[in-house]
């Protein structure tokens, strides 16, 4: 028996005048399967909705077609109306007869409106209900990394009541945060003691991930710690592995004692019984890596500290100062006021080292001629690189990286902390060069994102909106390879053959797998091949 379809037209308060609604109502009533056609002037307002609910109940309509304005802002209203009338929200199809018909054509467009409604009805006829269900999720979070970002994330996650495991590759926690602490003026000892004392946080040092599988709410991660390997279950994974720096110097200069990195200078500044006091110090940055702001901040902080402690002459060679961070311009002015000399050069200065002095030749843009400076200490330019293991871990977790090798694809819809795979987040330096305030903002963003996902212990999601038919699937792995959200995996069906299975929580309903499946085994409710072709076939009838 033909499914009963109800059509609800809306003339938007008689404002749509180039569609003859009477004629439309008549013509549309003859479409097979249509049991009632109603015309209203304000379908999206209160009384329009009540009339719709009563009509659905009286005529016991099974599928609803709304021919009105764009679904962009109103679709959720009508889905709610269907649910209030006891129908599944998916049995709903729209025809946009206002923005895409009445407003963009002159003259009478009744013909086109009728055709758009026919397309919507042809699709509605094939729609199938999709239920929603609460999926239980594991409430534990794995934070990979041991630096400033990782420790802060773990602390705040435990504060909102989520049990966290902190996994650090080195033997001790927070190894390089010590310098960062002195660099930005806060003591990390209180932070370290708090994280050790928190019974909500389990710390695994000198441990690393060897394998990872599973999806949002149910990640299984194998961790090797000191010889033995064990696999643990987590609901979400937060990567906070930070970055590493490499001196951008010719190899023979690297060994010279007078050429140091920013970190080494930091340690020299802190160590009270340092015997040598460099008279002149040279800084250099922004020549071979023009996309990082951390070298500028490190230089400004260290220059001020060195000026204050040793009162030495300081020369900074750079192409452009990256001051697009909070407070960076203030630091730059402070440094200039207390006598630091900034030299802007287009080309990279030539460095020669010998008998305890480092010679820097550079052509300053404003002076216009070559300046040669011999200084006791040169803080060389450093390249910001992703920390080791980034490539390995991203292939283990099957996630994408950006063009410079850091985590998180450069897609703007993922910012600030998400990855294209639900349940995996990135925090801090591991996703690009972030200064301290942006790292702290990242930490708070990831805490609320994980809190939303896991705090209630379950996630409401649609059941089998995208489904693989086990009979038709030949396990050719195409869908598993093309899924951008890595939401499909091979699963053994009741002891028999292995077939692909879509994980409802991880699926973002984009349909790429349904289009690529060579055996047409994947149905995507709402946009199945039949439903799309039904709309295409309405052209022939016109």
């Amino acid at each position: 028996m033909e499914t009963k379809i109800g059509i609800f037209l809306c003339n938007c308060g008689e404002a749509i005048r180039n569609i003859d609604f009477a004629a439309t109502k008549e013509e549309v009533a003859q479409i097979p399967g249509v049991s009632c056609v109603n015309l209203s002037s304000n379908l999206c307002l209160k009384e329009g909705k009540e009339k719709m609910i009563s009509c659905i109940k009286e005529e016991n309509i099974e599928k609803v077609v709304v021919a009105a304005c764009s679904p962009e802002f109103k679709e959720h209203i009508f889905r709610q109306v269907l649910e209030d009338a006891g129908l599944n929200g998916h049995l709903f199809s729209t025809a946009n007869i206002r923005e895409q018909c009445s407003w963009v054509h002159d003259g009478d467009v009744t013909g086109k409106a009728v055709e758009l409604i026919k397309m919507a009805v042809n699709r509605a006829r094939l729609l199938q209900p999709v239920e929603k269900k609460k999926f239980a999720v594991n409430r534990e979070v794995l934070v990979v990394g041991g630096g400033f970002a990782a420790i802060n994330a773990a602390l705040q996650l435990s504060r909102v009541g989520l049990r966290t495991t902190l996994l650090e590759r080195e033997a001790i926690l927070g190894s390089e945060t010590a310098e960062l602490g002195s660099l930005c003026g806060f003591d990390i000892s209180s932070m370290m003691s708090e994280v050790e004392g928190d019974e909500n946080i389990e710390i695994l040092t000198s441990a690393e991930v060897t394998a990872a599988a599973g999806k949002i709410g149910d990640f299984t991660v194998r961790i090797r710690k000191g010889g033995d390997e064990a696999s643990h279950k987590y609901g979400a994974v937060v990567l906070a592995t930070g970055y590493q720096t490499k001196l951008a110097l010719e190899s023979e200069l690297k060994s010279d004692v007078n050429i140091v990195s920013q970190k080494k200078l930091c340690r020299m500044l802190e160590n009270p019984n340092l015997e040598i006091r460099p008279r002149t110090i040279g800084f250099m940055f922004d020549f071979s890596d023009e996309n990082s702001r951390l070298p500028t901040l490190a230089t400004l902080n260290n220059a001020l500290a060195a000026k204050q402690k040793w009162d030495s002459e300081i020369y900074v060679f750079c192409k452009s100062l990256k001051v697009d961070g909070p407070g960076a311009e203030k630091l730059y002015r402070e440094a200039r006021d207390c006598g630091v000399v900034f030299l802007k050069c287009e080309a990279r200065p030539r460095i020669t080292a010998g008998n305890g002095r480092v010679k820097i030749e550079a052509k300053d843009v404003f002076l216009g001629e070559d300046t040669i400076l011999a200084c006791d200490l040169l803080v060389a330019e450093e390249l910001l690189l992703p920390s080791e293991g980034t490539e390995a871990l991203s292939s283990l977790l099957n996630i994408r990286r950006d063009s410079r090798g850091f985590y998180q694809d450069e897609n703007v819809h993922l910012y600030p902390v998400a990855s294209e795979k639900k349940g995996i987040f990135f925090v801090g330096g591991c996703r690009g060069d972030l200064d301290l305030s942006r790292v702290l903002t990242d930490v708070s963003s990831v805490v609320v994102s994980v809190y939303e996902l896991l705090s209630s212990g379950n996630i409401l999601a649609e059941v089998e909106r995208v489904k693989v038919d086990p009979q038709k699937c030949v396990a050719c792995l195409t869908c598993i390879r093309v899924c951008p959200h890595d939401a499909i995996q091979l699963v053994r069906v009741d002891g028999g053959k292995e077939v692909a299975e879509v994980f409802d929580l991880a699926c973002d309903a984009c349909g790429i797998c349904a289009a690529m499946c060579p055996a047409k085994a994947i149905t995507f409710q709402g946009y199945r091949d039949e439903e799309i072709l039904a709309q295409v076939e309405t052209i022939e009838e016109s």
Binding site: G13, F73, V160, K322, A328, E329, R333, R404
Partner: protein, 425 residues
């Protein structure tokens, strides 16, 4: 439990981002906005994609606004400002005045009949800008004949959904909320203050914001005086940033200038583009590729010009110091774009007095200590977005989400103190 509501002041991209995160975490949100439409400045920014997306995040704004408008837990109050605040974290009482909006947002279906019938010239009731949400028509008191004493009632009679109402007084209402997030955004630097650059006097001197809106509305660039395509464009950086009375870098101007320059070069390759800069800010996620690609095709000149004069033929003569030769020289362009920066909102001083929060020396709202960028000196009032300091769209979204996170932690803390155990389980 009243502490489960939060008031977000300002519906720019960071206010909307905070409201969305709060709503998704189960908190009811009042989102108040002093203008008639949601979105703030960033809603009018154009997409600067060439054949590849240039990562400017302008297209994230309409998505987030749409999500916020249809979210059931977010109640939107436009034309509203805060009059008084009392109470503390967990139970604030906020008095809101809502200026009359003669066209009811719920009822207006943007059919356009009222504009057709309105007798006033220029029309007193008109559609909002295209990207406006809610897309509800606006009745302008200054132009409407009825507010000039005439007995005109034509639009109210013709409105099919009775959405127009005249006898409306500013509405007062008191909300009780657990916490506040201030996301009042920024003001664009008024380029007229730099008189020597001739903005407002010469038609071909535009600001970055004008260029964004031209590309947003028309999609291509035409000179206003002769409608032709500009052949030689100059961008001048750091207009209203990094100078005597703006001791900060606005962070966004180098990025939007280079991306607009990339779009112009993509639309017509032989257009010459010059960028005058102090320090080129090319850091940030997703910028490396872009900078590599356009490093050669755009001419970068170090040093910011001080004066622009319009020649007889309408071209603009820019006087700047050419450092390589070490002397002042002139260059003519047919279009000059001033990359204006971010300045603190004019009425942030008023809001600071009402809420009792401090202003930093550069005019933005101050934070409790240098490490936390969301907390203010008042517990329970948090900052989000550019009202705390210059940020681009991705940073504003992140800052908004962080503010929501701190609010939830603060509210969580409050709830648990009530239940007597100090840990926020």
């Amino acid at each position: 439990m009243e502490s489960k509501n939060v008031l977000v002041v300002g519906s720019g991209i960071s206010g909307v981002a905070s409201a969305l995160e709060l709503a998704n975490a189960g908190v009811n949100v009042y989102l108040i906005e002093k203008e008639a439409v949601v979105g703030g400045h960033s809603a009018s920014f154009c997409c600067k994609a060439t054949d590849v997306c240039s990562r400017c995040s302008a297209c994230v704004v309409p998505d987030k606004i749409r999500e916020a408008v249809i979210n059931p837990r977010i109640r939107l109050l436009t034309n509203s400002t805060i009059k008084k605040l009392s109470g503390d974290l967990g139970n604030f009482r906020v008095e809101i005045t809502q200026q009359p909006r003669y066209i009811d947002v719920e009822k207006c279906i943007a059919c356009g009949l009222c504009t057709e019938v309105c007798p006033a010239d220029p029309k007193a009731v008109y559609p909002p800008t295209v990207e406006a949400t809610p897309f509800c028509y606006i009745l302008d008191e200054a132009l409407c004949l009825r507010f000039k004493g005439e007995k005109c009632d034509i639009c109210r009679e013709n409105c099919p959904t009775r959405a127009i109402e005249f006898e409306l007084k500013p509405k007062e209402q008191e909300l009780s909320v657990g916490a506040l997030i201030v996301a009042t955004g920024f003001d664009v630097f008024d380029a007229k203050e730099k008189g020597s650059l001739g903005y407002g006097r010469y038609p071909n001197v535009l600001t970055g914001l004008d260029l964004e809106q031209i590309f947003g509305r028309e999609g291509y660039l035409r000179l206003s005086i002769n409608g032709k395509e500009p052949r030689n464009i100059a961008f001048i950086q750091c207009v209203g940033s990094r100078d005597e009375d703006h001791g900060y870098c606005s962070q966004v101007c180098c990025k939007y200038a280079m991306k607009l320059a990339g779009l112009i070069k993509y639309q017509s390759l032989d257009t010459k583009v010059t960028i005058f800069y102090i320090d080129l800010q090319t850091a940030g996620k997703g910028f490396a590729q872009f900078y590599e690609e356009y490093k050669e095709s755009i001419r970068f000149v170090r040093g910011v010009p001080v004066e622009i004069l319009q020649t007889a033929s309408g071209d603009l003569e820019v006087r700047f110091e050419d450092i390589s030769q070490g002397k002042v020289c002139r260059d003519t362009f047919d279009l000059v774009v001033l990359s204006v920066g971010i300045t603190p909102g004019k009425n942030s001083w008023g809001l600071a007095r009402i809420l009792g929060i401090n202003l930093a020396d550069d005019g933005f709202f101050d934070t409790k200590d240098s490490l936390s960028s969301n907390e203010t000196n008042v517990d329970g009032i948090f900052l989000a977005g550019t009202c705390q300091g210059p940020k681009d769209i991705p940073d504003s979204v992140a800052h908004g989400i962080a503010a929501a996170s701190k609010t939830i932690q603060a509210l969580g803390g409050v709830a648990s103190q009530r239940r007597g155990n100090h840990r926020g389980h």
